[in-house]
Each structure stands twice: as C-alpha cells, then as structure tokens.
C-alpha cells in the first residue's frame, strides 16, 4: 500500500486505543445486512509500472494532436502552450491545495486568483471578474440566470449563431427555472445576428441579449448595433468571447457589455478532450459584482497592515446563503485559471496580440487558398480564426480520408445544423504552418 502509511501493527495499536480488535468494528453503525459482503467487482490492481504501460497503451488508441495536423475547432482549439506552464502548476503547493479557506496559509492561491481576476477584467475591459467557472458554456448559463435575477425579467434572447451546444446547455439551465429562451436568427448570407428578425415588442421583456463574438461560424459582428438595441430596452448585453480574439478585436467593455463570459481553456490549458477547461465571468458595476456567481478574491490587510488576499463577498455563496445563494458553484477550476494567468503573464499584451494576429492572418490565408481552390465560403462576414466552407461532399467521409494523410479536418456542420449539412467549419490557429495549410489545400483540391 504505497499510499497508506498505517502498518498492521499500527492499525492494531490504534484499534486498541478504541477498545477494538478488528477493523470491521469501526463500521458497527452500518446495519450489517447493508454491508457489502464481497469485494467490489473491479479489475485486478495494477502496480505503478504496469499501470503506466497499460495507460500508455490506452492513450495510444487515440490519435493525438502531436500526431496529426488539426483544423478542428468549434469550441476547442490547438493553441500553442508554453512549456513552462505545466512546471509551475505542478508545484505541489498549487496542485494539492484546495479552495483557500484559511487565507493566511493560502496567499499563493489567493493572490494568483486575484491576478486572474485582474487580467480577465483587463482583457475584457470590464470592472471585475470572478475566480472561475466550470467552462464557458456554464458561465454563459449562469450569466443568463443572473441577468434575470438582476432585471427581474424572465426572458433571455440568444443569437442563434452561438455554439449550438452552449445554446442547448443554456436551454437546460433556463428551463429548470422556467425562463424562456428566445433564439435570434442569423442572417443566412452573412451568418451575423439578424435583429430585424426579432419581434419588436419582445425587447422590453428581455433580461438580456446574448451575443457571441466571434460567432460559432467564426464571424465577427457589429456588436455596437446589438448593444444599442438591447440597451434601448434596459436589457443587459451579455457577450461570449474568445479571449484570444481580444488581442485584436474590440473588447466587450468597449461595447458596453454588462456581463462577459467565455472559455479560457485556450489560454495555456491542454485541450484534454474538452476538459478541464475554465470559464470566466466578468461584469461592470458594483450592483452586478454583488450578484456574481462563484468565488471572488479581494484585497485586504493583515494585523500588521501588510497587504493580503481573502475570499470575499461570501454572502453571495452557497455555504452562507444556501438556497438563496447566487449560484451553487463551489469547487471551480482554480488550477486552470492559474494556468490561464501564467499564460497571460508569459505572453503579455504583445504576445496575445501576436497570437491573435497570427490566427487572423493564417485563417485569412487558408480561407483565400481554399476559395481559390474552388470551395465556396458559406458566409461573407469577416472572420477571426474560423470559417465555413461549403461543398457537395460528405464532410465526415472527407475527414476520414484526411486522417489517412495525417490531417484532422474541420467540424462537419451537419452534426450541428441540418441547414448546413454540406458545410464544414475550419479552424486555424497560430500553431499551423504555411506548409501544413498548403498541403491541406492540395489534398482537398485533389479530391474535387
């Protein structure tokens, strides 16, 4: 038992101090007939060496991104991760701590969360951010719930060009509270939010309007227009953003967003089959701050007047307010938030701008080349790091063919939207090279 220090002799000693002689006596409070009388039916234990081999074999059954060239995105991206990040987060003090309930011995975690809040607030150009959410999708759902609570309205509008899974999750969360979710259609030519399509009288009933920038299709919208519209009804503007895009694209705060959410997994976290990632949640204005879900760290001073950090505004939280809490979130994604913080600290403003710029330029390059190769661009709006192409193909089948050449193709949109069944969503990050893209285009061109 490499992880259990008690030796049989010590067990006996300890039992004896309790007036017992057998471990079974410890469980006397569990009615005997309820106790499991057989071993659990689990595979034989593997010693560490065997475990590593076995798990290595299991891992090898997956095609990983080091072994192929990926143009797959649709919510998760092959961004470059600086090597040093994992060294820092693997320090036992970060890895094996928990929520910093005892502030005096948790300044490392607390200060790093304070940094996360600061950098997210700055990046989004908002006033404050919380200590993290499970992911972008649940952050969005919480943003919608919070909008309803703050505005006392029971309808939420969301652009239909949001990630369809995020929309589904939103629906699940809202439905449980009997809040109505209204989808705002996108323009079939541009792929952008079509405000014309909204029933005018609806506006005044909306708690918020949710817009994704860029959209699921990669398109970049004129959010000013949306902002003006929802504000004219005193509803909140909720933006879901790709944090990388903020190196180039106008920040939510500049649009006057009230709540900003997004997934910060792309900031230095391994892609890891989609999780753990980390959601962020930023707001402006004390009124909204006091209604945020999740942990928040604040600055204070100690007895000697030195600066320190503590969990704060806890009166919002479940452990104090129970059913009246602003959310049920407890364990969040601290280590992933720390990862994002380290990533942002390493890259800095210039680095984030460069990542965004490279995504933009490389995406433009591939899009241009594919268009030249005869593929149709499904939407004509400007794009950031993703775009939709159309062809009279079964894109799932094409993806299988691409795999044979070491490529992971885009996301076949038939899996998400029956109207786009001949489309695929191509993502290009800074990790892609010209040579990789050229060969990709050659392959696809060859199959026409």
């Amino acid at each position: 038992m490499p992880y259990i220090p008690n030796t049989p002799e010590e067990q006996q000693q300890m039992l004896k101090s309790l007036g017992m002689s057998k471990l079974a006596e410890l469980f006397a409070d569990i009615p005997d007939h309820l106790q499991l009388k057989r071993p659990l039916d689990l595979p034989e234990p593997l010693a560490e060496h065997q475990l590593l081999r076995y798990m290595g074999q299991l891992a090898e059954k997956n095609v990983n991104l080091d072994r192929c060239i990926s143009f797959l995105g649709a919510g998760a991206y092959d961004h470059i991760v600086p090597a040093v990040v994992s060294h820092i987060i693997n320090r036992g003090e970060f890895l094996t701590a928990y929520t910093p309930y005892q502030a005096e011995v948790s300044q490392g975690v607390l200060q790093s969360i304070f940094e996360f809040q600061t950098l997210i607030a700055n990046l989004t150009n908002m006033e404050a951010a919380n200590a993290s959410m499970y992911d972008g999708a649940t952050a969005l759902a919480e943003a919608a719930l919070m909008s309803c609570n703050v505005t006392n309205r029971r309808k939420v509008a969301a652009a239909a060009n949001l990630d369809p899974r995020w929309l589904e999750i939103l629906q699940v969360y809202l439905e449980s509270q009997n809040i109505e979710l209204i989808n705002i259609a996108y323009d079939p030519v541009t792929g952008l939010v079509d405000l014309e399509a909204v029933e005018p009288k609806l506006g005044a009933e909306l708690a918020c309007m949710i817009v994704s920038q860029p959209s699921f299709f990669g398109s970049v919208d004129d959010v000013d227009r949306v902002a003006q519209w929802i504000k004219s009804y005193q509803g909140l503007l909720v933006m879901a953003v790709d944090p990388i895009s903020l190196g180039i694209l106008k920040a939510p705060g500049e649009y006057g967003a009230d709540i900003v959410v997004g997934d910060a997994g792309c900031l230095g976290n391994p892609i890891s089959f989609g999780g753990p990632s980390v959601g962020f949640f930023a707001v402006t204005g004390m009124k909204l701050i006091r209604r945020m879900p999740g942990r928040i760290v604040g600055q204070t001073t100690d007895r000697d007047g030195n600066i320190g950090y503590v969990l704060t505004l806890q009166a919002r939280e479940q452990h104090i307010r129970r059913e009246k809490a602003t959310s049920n979130i407890c364990t969040n994604q601290a280590l992933n938030a720390l990862t994002a913080t380290i990533y942002l600290a390493l890259l800095g403003p210039q680095g984030i701008k460069q990542v965004a710029y490279q995504c933009l330029q490389k995406t433009a390059y591939l899009r241009r080349k594919l268009e030249a190769a005869g593929f149709k661009l499904r939407f004509n709006a400007p794009v950031f790091k993703e775009f939709v192409i159309q062809a009279d193909w079964d894109w799932e089948e094409i993806n299988q063919r691409l795999l044979e050449h070491g490529y992971l193709g885009g996301f076949p949109l038939k899996l998400a939207d029956p109207n786009l069944s001949d489309c695929t969503l191509i993502a290009v990050t800074e990790a892609r090279t010209k040579a990789e893209m050229d060969r990709f285009v050659d392959l696809l061109r060859g199959w026409r």
């Binding site: 008690n6 039992l15 299991l58 090898e60 990983n64 089959f273 204070t300 380290i342 984030i352 400007p382």
Partner: protein
Amino acid sequence: MLLLDLSVPGRQGYALPKLDVEETPIEELIPETYLRKSELGLPELTEPEVVRYFTQLSRKNHGVDVGFYPLGSCTMKYNPRVNENIAAMPGFSRIHPRQPENTVQGALQLMYELDRYLAEIAGLAKTSLQPAAGAHGELTGLLIIKAYHEFNGEAEQRREIIIPDSAHGTNPASAQMAGFIAREISSDPRGGVDVEALRAMVGPQTAGLMLTNPNTLGLFDENIETIAKIIHDAGGLLYYDGANANAILGIVRPGDTGFDIVHFNLHKTFSTPHGGGGPGSGPIVVSNKLVDFLPDPIVEYTDGRYHLARPKHSIGPVKAFYGNFGVMVKAYAYIRHLGAEGLRAVSENAVLNANYVLNQLKQDYHLPYDRLCMHEFVLSGKWQKELGVSTLDIAKRLLDYGVHAPTIYFPLIVEEAIMVEPTETESKATLDAFIEAMQNIAEEVRTNPERIKSAPCQTPVKRLDETKAARSPVLTRKL
C-alpha cells in the same frame, strides 16, 4: 507586488514562431471599428520573472504535499503523482473533443469503463461523467429527478426537495437552481435525519431527498432504509451527495441502501488533486429507471466500438463536451491502481484514522455526538468559546503548527464546529502531532488566550481582515 507591478514595457515571456504566410493588411480583414482600441492591461515580463513570481507565490501556500490538511468534507488525501504523468500523456491531454469517434476509442473506453467502475462502487446502473464538480452533479441529479417526475406527469406537483439541516450549502443552492423548493429537515439527537419529522414532511409535493451518508457530522445514518422507504413511499427519489464516499468504498453501496442517484467527487474520493479549488469532477450514477434521463451524451459500447449516445429522455447537456476528462483519467488510473482491495483499505484506514483522532481529542473539546464516526468527525469549540476563544481563533492558531485548519463553522447545526477529516494517507505520527497540537491549544486557551487570539504568527501574513475586504471590495489591481 503583483504581476503588473513588475511589468516593464517591451518584455515578453514567450516568443511565437515567426508568421510564415503572406500578410494581408488588417483593415482588409476586419473593419476598423471592430478593432480593439483599449489597452490589454497585461503585464510584460520574461519567463524567468514569471517563474520566480509564481514560485515565490507557491511558497506562501499550504498543500497536502506540504503538510497535514484535515479539512473536513474535502478529503485532502495524497494525490499519486503518477496520475499527473498519465493525464499528461499526449494521447489523453492532446485530443480534441470533436474528433471522429474512431480516433478517440481509447478515451471513450476509459470513460465507459470508469462509468462501469463507479456504477459498481455506487451499486447503481449507469454514470454520466459530465458534471464538473459535486455541486454540478447535484444540479444534474436534481434535473433528472425533475425530468423523471415530468415523465410521470407529476412535475407540477412535486416541487419540494427535502434537505437535512446538516447538509452542505450546495444542496439547497442546487435545489434552488434546479427550480425546486428546498425544505429543511432537522436532525435527531444522534445526528441523523429526524425520521418522525420526515414522515410529517413528505407528501405528494415531495420530489425527493438529498442526503450525505455518512453525513456532514461524519456519522452514518443507521435509519437509511427507513428514510428511503418514507421517501419512496411518498413517490420521491433519493439523491446521495457523495462528498463523503471516502468512508464507504467497498463497505456499503449507496444504491444498496436505497438511493436512486449518487454523485461522486472524483477530486475527493478518487484522489485527483484539488488544484487550489478545482478542477473537480462530479459524475452521477443513477438507477435503471433513471438511465434514460441522463445528460447527453453518455458512452455506450456496442459491436466492439465505443460511441457517444443521447439517452432517450435526456435532460440535455450540462457542460460543454464530456466533462472534466483530464480529471477522469486520474480517477480511472487511481481505481485501476488500487483495485477492490485497495479501495476498501482506503475507507478502512480513513475511518480508523478519524476515530483514533476523535478519541484522543474528546477530552479537550466538546464532542456533540459521542459515537463511532466514519471518515471524519465534528467537534465543538464551545468550551473554548466560554473562555473567550472562538473556533476561528483555534483554527488560526493551528496554522502556526504547520497544519491546515479543519473545516470550521460547518455543519451549521454544531455550535463553533470543528470538522476534522484526517484521510487514510496520513501516518499515525502525523495524527499524533496533530492531536498534540490540538491539546496544546486547548491548554493555551486556558493559560494564554491572547496568544491564540493574535494567531497566526508563523504564517506569511498575519491574520487578515475579512470584514474590510467585503466592506470596500478591491477585486482587481487597477491599471
């Protein structure tokens, strides 16, 4: 000093490869008005500075790797490092959630088998690995309860979730989020659910009951069968908050005691590191009759292949993609590493350690429920409080001993609560040192209370002013 205080314009800690495609003028790609005008507000540092900053920060933090961490209800056990290596294997850490299923058979197999193992441990039928943490599992489980009643046409009527007064705060909060009314049920003198009160509370409005067993007092509710019968007879379902499952692995299975839904905290019971507050993972396991309501997708195995599927009456998805896969990998490896025998030993030793410590401390601290405990126990600081020293003071003083304080002021039903969970990965020597520290403190309360009230004094900062932080919140470093 914060990152921005160290920033000097012009520095960068990471260099990208040079851009290798022909550049298009940016205004041809994105309209001017969509471009960012505001500063990014990020620090400018080099890699050495970032490393040193975070290394220094980490050294101001306690962790299981640093010392004893008897934080009740949180199962701060040792996290086998081999699992970090495993989760970091590119075959796990570098796979995209939207890859074709035939390229991720290993990942799906892992999820499928983990589902099977958790089902066996819970004594139930099928698992959803989607919830990101315990509270998220609760919400998901409650949505399933709701969907079940809806399916039976009883959703309108069954609006109440009964929750013991000893329950964790997430339980009522989750009930609220799921659109239920949380009804609090009191505890009996032995710390269990007050069965008579329960009988009086149930009815056609009852959707279900949420229970932790062993509960947050660390006590096993012996009346569980009766409780289950009362709820089931009333048409409700039983939800098991598995935060305390470290006490019961291979000993008793929640499903066998009448529960319909169980969540496990992989980050507690299955030893995935807590990461300073996450990531967690809160899979739920349900009985046969609830399988069709599970979130979308679940993993199935047919014709020799693993694939994702949407249950017939699925409540829908509750999280982007499939849950915290990286955490699942670690929990899976943990179960494969320990096996049935190892998991049982976990619970046996967790319970042994708790009882051992309990027994040594009950002379000096009030023990409100003096009976066998499971993996944790709750003391009360009320004797000390009478001498003017609060449980908070005691907790702070413990920090000076290089020990993380127990959970305090929870559960709410114990005055000045001190909730101690030693876990099985601690040695008797560590427990003895903790016992001695607690005894010393009890003595100090009598002889030198001021010393305690001014604690901690050996920590990187002295006692912090929480009131001030909340009164005028400073939540970011202003630019």
